[in-house]
Symmetry: C2
DNA sequence: TCTCGAAATGGGAACGTTCCCATGACGAAT
DNA sequence: ATTCGTCATGGGAACGTTCCCATTTCGAGA
């Protein structure tokens, strides 16, 4: 392989191998079987000699596969998003695809723009983990033949595959665990579920489950920067002697972080007040008794998303898929009540 | 603007406006001034009507600007990398560019592959935050006219711009702070600095500074998963009555995390043992007395990297730039020694 | 009035592919 | 021997741009 100043083209390879560009193209477009053995050898040798790699630009301009998968993410600084991104990236690599990540910073306008951009780059598939997503933009992808997968979201009015946490199972596991540990006064804290269907699903399950089981449950639905709201409810939760033990269930990692911060500020002891959060985070083992979490299998989720894309690529009219993954309980001190006396 | 099933082409706009495609091309390639006022209006109107956006694929195939900036990152799960990524992304957006992020997962082979991929997508600039980077691959970018910026790394044998933390200032700030707080027996913990120049720079500065000042300083250079090495040194550090107060300086966020974990496991109290880390992390305010950190201005660093790229784009032979940013001290309990008696 | 240069505009090739449609060869069936 | 289908291969157009090189127009200077 010679290091050329300009990348080699298919024509150079064809010339060197003494074959037509069409044959070289076939060699690289998964039609090798159609070529005779000698031809394959000649092409392979020539390509190696000049260090040829097909130009994805030209390829996808012509309408061929771009080898590009897009990911639209609402908040790139959310550790969950990063974890998923990592999973996607791995899965893409394994499938010979490249991931193009677009962060919308929670701005619907940007979302639109990013979608347009990805579309103009002719991505072969799109993974969406964002809120304000105007459905018609997504539908445009679908009708143009680009598979779309919704990640940790669901949209009633657009028919696409969905992958994410099994929210019902997660909430059930959390509640079961809390109850088993002796907590019976539950506070569920979530960000406003407006656009985010998974927040809605978790919240709904929490409500119905607690109602069904007759648990003493309350809900706090707040923006995380609203420290007052948080503080007020946390204070109100402080345990009363000879009263049911209180516990907090955090709807996601961001909530867990905010709650941990305020509990520390208010000098509330977790354990005494139970604390469990959905999403595992680097530092959950670090705070004093450690925070119990439900870890999402993010790599598996990413892999599943790519699987969905590829399946649908090969069969555009495949059945709509919903893939929900169960979380894993990581038990730490925050759900270990102090020995009663 | 009509929603067309297939995106509009320059030809359709030209036709509709009754002008040549060349003129439309000029309109979109920053040569508007060369067009008469009437022509500009006609094109603008026609483009709006059919919802035209130039196709970046075709554009960059022909050799025009792709509007794509590549980022090669060694570990996408490192919060520092994510923070930088966010900064880059913002800066790109502002400049009308798109960011293509490639994660190499610390695998040199993948690095090569990712670089090749980005090159084949004709990125206009490359930001590198990775270790095993074979210099010749980078040089190839440079010679082909693609500006490269090294982020938090430096390479002796390839002439490119570099942006990152002012390592000297950071180490000095950390040491000064520790000394001012009454710590004088210092342990510097870092991952092996082999390929990473910033690790080398920090380590070197720590050594020379401590030597110059006659401080009782030791160094632990270890892989973070080597729990034994860590534990041993941490135990050895335990404070001795009527002896100089010990403190730990963590070379980066990953180290801080690992050290915090082991300190907790060994029941070592930070504060008593001083603890300061380079890189601010979400949870540093959460652990018991809080961990003092030096926060890097990641958004500014990202912005600076893009600035470098653009400068060099316009003047390929501009002077090589080194831009180093000072960190900000965020003081918490871990560098607050308990009141002495 | 003629010439000339600048300014405004357009035509066509090229970028590196893919894919449709030949073309020739060859063995099998008539 | 002739016809046919199949297989291996090649030529050329097309994808949507940009850019080089005309061509046309027009006002100014001779």
């Amino acid at each position: 392989m010679t290091a050329a100043s300009r990348p080699a083209t298919i024509l150079e390879v064809a010339h060197l191998a003494g074959v037509s560009k069409t044959s070289v193209s076939r060699y690289y477009s998964g039609e090798r079987e159609r070529l005779s053995a000698t031809m394959q050898e000649r092409i392979s040798a020539a390509a190696e000699q000049v260090g040829y790699h097909p130009n994805p630009l030209a390829r996808s301009l012509k309408g061929g596969p771009s080898g590009l998968v897009g990911m639209l993410v609402a908040d790139i600084r959310n550790p969950f998003s990063v974890a998923i991104m990592h999973g996607l990236e791995q899965a893409c690599r394994q499938a010979g695809l490249s991931l193009m990540v677009c962060n919308s910073d929670n701005d619907p306008d940007q979302e639109r723009q990013q979608l347009a951009m990805m579309s103009s780059w002719r991505i072969e598939g799109l993974v969406v983990n964002a809120a304000g997503c105007h459905s018609d933009a997504l539908r445009q992808f679908v009708t143009s033949g680009t598979p779309v997968v919704l990640l940790d979201r669901s949209l009633a009015d657009v028919q696409v595959d969905e992958v994410g946490l099994d929210n019902t199972a997660a909430i059930d596991m959390a509640i079961d665990h809390l109850v088993a540990q002796g907590y019976s006064r539950l506070l569920y804290i979530t960000e406003p579920p407006a656009q985010a269907s998974s927040r809605q699903a978790r919240l709904a399950r929490f409500e119905s489950r607690c109602a069904g089981q007759g648990l003493d449950a309350t809900i706090l639905c707040t923006e995380l920067h609203d420290q007052q709201a948080l503080d007020q409810r946390l204070r109100a939760l402080a345990p009363v002697v000879s009263h049911a033990r209180p516990a907090i269930l955090c709807a996601n990692g961001q909530v867990t972080l905010a709650v941990a911060h305020r509990m520390r500020a208010l000098d509330l002891r977790s354990g005494e007040i139970g604390l469990i959060g959905i999403d595992e985070l680097d530092w959950c083992g670090l705070t004093e008794p450690g925070i119990t979490t439900l870890a999402q299998p993010t790599d598996a989720i990413g892999q599943a998303a790519i699987d969905c894309l590829r399946t649908r690529q090969h069969d555009r009219s495949a059945d709509r898929q919903y893939r929900a993954f169960a979380p894993q309980l990581i038990q730490r001190g925050s759900t270990q009540p102090p020995a009663s006396h």
